[in-house]
């Protein structure tokens, strides 16, 4: 599998969750684990450009796919990704535990809807739980991110099924 552009071996332990593989085998601890049953969204990563729950995938299932984690959005020490920048400007994080998952979901949302409506914003972040912010600042951040939007992932997503093809 490719993780943040780097080829990585899949684990031998087939029951290892992708979230645990990223965190504990590859040291990419920016992907957080909040519930391990797919509700909280803290562990959201991009799989071939689309946000998915890494706690609801076995690591071996990512073999042959591209995984992007929060660490893969901005270069070390380089400028923040527009979504990250917007979260900072809008105080859309407090403890920061849910933040990577939110950011990855929003990257996916903006790839799907570059200029999201209010309802699209709301629904786009409605699969992620935050206990600190009350979401208002996150809504503002999504709108701000759309303004800043130069998402490098636009156009790569969504993966369309071959409609009748």
């Amino acid at each position: 599998m490719k993780v943040n552009g780097v080829e990585r071996a899949a684990p031998d332990e087939t029951r290892l969750l992708l979230s645990d593989h990223l965190r504990h085998e590859l040291g990419l601890t920016g992907t957080h684990v909040g519930c391990e049953h797919g509700v909280c969204g803290c562990c959201t990563v991009l799989l071939d450009g689309a946000p998915v729950r890494s706690c609801l995938m076995l690591a071996v299932q990512a073999e042959g796919h591209e995984v992007t984690t929060i660490e893969g959005l901005a270069r070390d020490g380089g400028a923040l990704h527009p979504v990250q920048q917007a979260f900072h400007e809008c105080h859309a994080l407090q403890c920061g535990f849910c933040t990577p998952g939110f950011v990855m979901s929003v990257v996916g949302l903006l790839a799907q809807h570059p200029r999201p409506t209010e309802q699209e914003v709301e629904e786009g972040i409605s699969g992620n739980l935050c206990r600190c912010t009350g979401y208002a600042s996150i809504r503002r951040a999504v709108t701000r991110a759309a303004e800043l939007n130069s998402s490098p992932l636009v156009g790569k997503y969504p993966p369309k099924a071959g409609d009748g093809a």
Partner: protein, 250 residues
């Protein structure tokens, strides 16, 4: 909350998957995994073998056939949500998909997996039933079509044989007017009660062990819904009447 040990299989073809499923004791099919993996993590499911069908090529098509739309086994719910064919042929399915969990879950979850999981509170089985759709099941013994009305057997139970894989679901074109309306606690949650209207047909979900067809004039008749923390049997019957009235007023 880590999965218990199991033997993992990743067949490359439907035939290979069928052979595995036909020969292994206590095997489970892993498609999108959005229901199965939580069950593994809670250790509520502990199959000996996991047959991951995600490596099977050519099982991710959406296509028109027989006046409806066919959705193959590995089509993700998000693909259906975004599909022009589905929007044109069966917009009821497009509407219903948007009520399934959240986009991030739909990016991975499959339509066929959702149907095969047979959660009584799930939207898609009720849509299939209301439309009079069917599914295609495959095993080493061959392929058969199961009508929606004969598919759902109980809570999380279908009439699929233990060695069968659900490889395709077929949704007939949604005749007008159509509607899918549900009451859930939070956006994306399973419904406390829900109704699907397809023309004059009415199917209910969340109010019986399986989705059920009902009479629009007396939708709660004969129902004996279970109660849980968020809805008593009475409240479910009440909601069925309210939602049915909304669906047929539309």
């Amino acid at each position: 909350m880590k999965p218990p040990p199991f033997t993992y299989h990743a067949p490359g073809s439907v035939d290979e998957a069928c052979t595995l499923l036909g020969t292994l004791e206590d095997a489970k099919v892993l498609a999108g995994g959005q229901s199965l993996i939580p069950l593994l993590n809670f250790r509520l499911a502990r199959p000996q073998h996991l047959i991951d069908i995600n490596r099977i090529a050519g099982l991710d098509r959406i296509y028109e056939r027989d006046g409806g739309v066919a959705v193959q086994g590995l089509v993700r719910q998000a693909m259906v949500e975004d599909s022009d064919v589905v929007a044109r042929v069966c917009p009821l399915l497009t509407d219903a998909i948007r009520l399934v969990a959240h986009r991030v879950i739909r990016n991975r979850g499959t339509v066929c997996g959702n149907v095969a999981h047979a959660d009584p509170a799930s939207e898609l089985p009720a849509v299939l039933l209301a439309l009079g759709g069917s599914v295609v099941a495959k095993s080493v013994r061959g392929e058969r079509v199961i009508e929606a009305g004969a598919l759902f057997a109980g809570v999380f139970e279908t009439t699929l044989a233990p060695d069968e894989i659900l490889v395709e679901a077929w949704f007939p074109s949604s005749s007008k007017p159509y509607a899918v309306i549900e009451e859930s606690r939070r956006h994306g949650d399973f419904a406390l009660a829900g109704v699907v209207r397809a023309g004059d047909q009415l199917a209910l979900f969340g109010v019986a062990p399986t989705p059920v067809l009902a009479d629009r004039l007396d939708p709660a008749r004969g129902l004996e819904p279970s109660g849980d923390l968020e809805a008593s049997p009475d409240f479910r019957l009440h909601l069925v009447r309210v939602l049915t009235a909304q669906a047929f007023a539309a």
